[in-house]
Point group: C2
């Protein structure tokens, strides 16, 4: 069984402090993955992670998502790549320390985009690594863009591309929470949403998109929409809280702990 696991940037970094990884959380998650593999489960895992407070400052400063429009855009492109890669080194190194077999796959080394969408990427090495039982670790990164010079590709955009090619059984998106009707960290009357599909998303849209909605990296609504797009290519996507111990392990093994997103 092939599963994709995303570790959100807000989960594995301290968003309030630039270049600060939440090593405790990364290590705990690595151990949850290691437990699954130790149990001899027939599971191949691809991990992707966001950049959080690592590339956030430089990406904003240089407006890297807008392309090569400014005089300093190309310098910015290089700096954002460096910042994104720095966190990736920490994630992979932590995985290795726990005993996992994991290897970086730098998206910007091979992927090419057109207007923010990956249109070309030779992923043969990712396929071989998965076959060999090694965890490929991709990450939100800069990308060359044939329309505007460069862009930012999120882990979700990467997963969408990879899911279409590799057809995973399940995609787990671990952030700070599953989907609620309102931001659960602010509102006590926030209700958890069990399931979302292309028909029910409209109802949810009004509540999530409203002023009580989420507002982290583009907001929970856009996360749900991206999850729905990924869900086109696999049985189910689950948006879960990676803060709760054991959730990631449970979700990877098929237990329901978050919001199910089905096409």
């Amino acid at each position: 069984m092939l599963v994709f696991l995303k570790l959100g940037g807000s989960l594995i970094t301290d968003k309030t402090k630039p270049y600060t990884a939440r090593l405790d959380i990364i290590e705990r998650i690595a151990k949850e993955i290691e437990e699954i593999l130790e149990e001899g489960r027939d599971i191949r895992i691809l991990v992707g992670h966001g950049g959080g407070s690592f590339p956030h400052v430089s990406a904003k400063k240089y407006e890297t998502h807008k392309g090569f429009g400014r005089e300093d855009s190309k310098s910015g492109f290089c700096m954002v790549q460096n910042d994104a890669s720095k966190l990736n080194r920490i994630v992979v190194e932590t995985f290795l320390k726990v005993g996992l077999k994991a290897v970086s796959i730098q998206p910007s080394a091979g992927a090419l985009a057109e207007s923010d969408k990956i249109t070309k990427w030779d992923i043969q090495n990712i396929e071989i690594l998965l076959r060999e039982g090694i965890i490929p670790v991709v990450y939100g990164d800069v990308c060359l863009d044939i329309k505007k010079g460069c862009c930012i590709i999120s882990t979700e955009e990467i997963f969408k591309y990879l899911a279409e090619k590799l057809k995973p059984e399940k995609v787990v998106l671990a952030g700070k929470s599953m989907v609620y009707t309102k931001d659960p960290f602010k509102f006590k009357d926030a209700e958890p949403i069990e399931e979302i599909n292309r028909e029910t998303i409209e109802k949810i849209e009004s509540s999530l998109g409203g002023s009580d909605g989420y507002d982290v990296t583009g907001g929970m609504l856009s996360k749900v929409k991206l999850a729905l797009e990924i869900a086109k290519y696999c049985k189910e996507v689950e948006i879960i809280s990676g803060l709760e111990k054991g959730n990631i392990k449970k979700s990877l093994l098929g237990e329901r702990v978050g919001t199910l997103v089905r096409w």
Copy 2:
């Protein structure tokens, strides 16, 4: 004009101390490159660097060059990739600090080898970066190998593949010295060799291969042989000392400071 510049692992790391980069040297070299670009020269530069004391210990421990033969080969493969990438982060970060536009290109993310030779690698992104005036920074890395599982690809092997496709004007290999008849750090009567080609290499072979010869990462003789192979695809390869201030700048601009290798 397109040039390739290799920074040898023994030049940019302290070979006697694991995981110790020679930051002073990397920064000085970055400044030499920056000076060339500041002067508005029509030059596009691709940089490659060795791993030196970063992946050396893990690569030797796990015999990564032998493939996936051992039980711990795959763990070793992951560790060597991590170690190689660590030095690459330091190199790229130092380049950025000096004001260069430079971006990592992780070879193992895209290249595929067969019996230690790269046989497949989509290098479109490298071509675009060069066109945009951004320095792609490749490095000696692990590589998936369709014959033996994995292998180690040196910067020279990478340059050979890239030189055939990109046809650089010149390739500069900066190490601790140009080519001498004997190891110049040990023998006072060592004589510098000005030029080598496929006909004169035989004469040199006996002296370099002898007991007074070099013995750093496979030795100077194998470096010269690889340089000769690269020389098939460009006008000239120059093996220089990167320890001497100004040498890299001079060599990149066409001045002779080392040993010329022509096919």
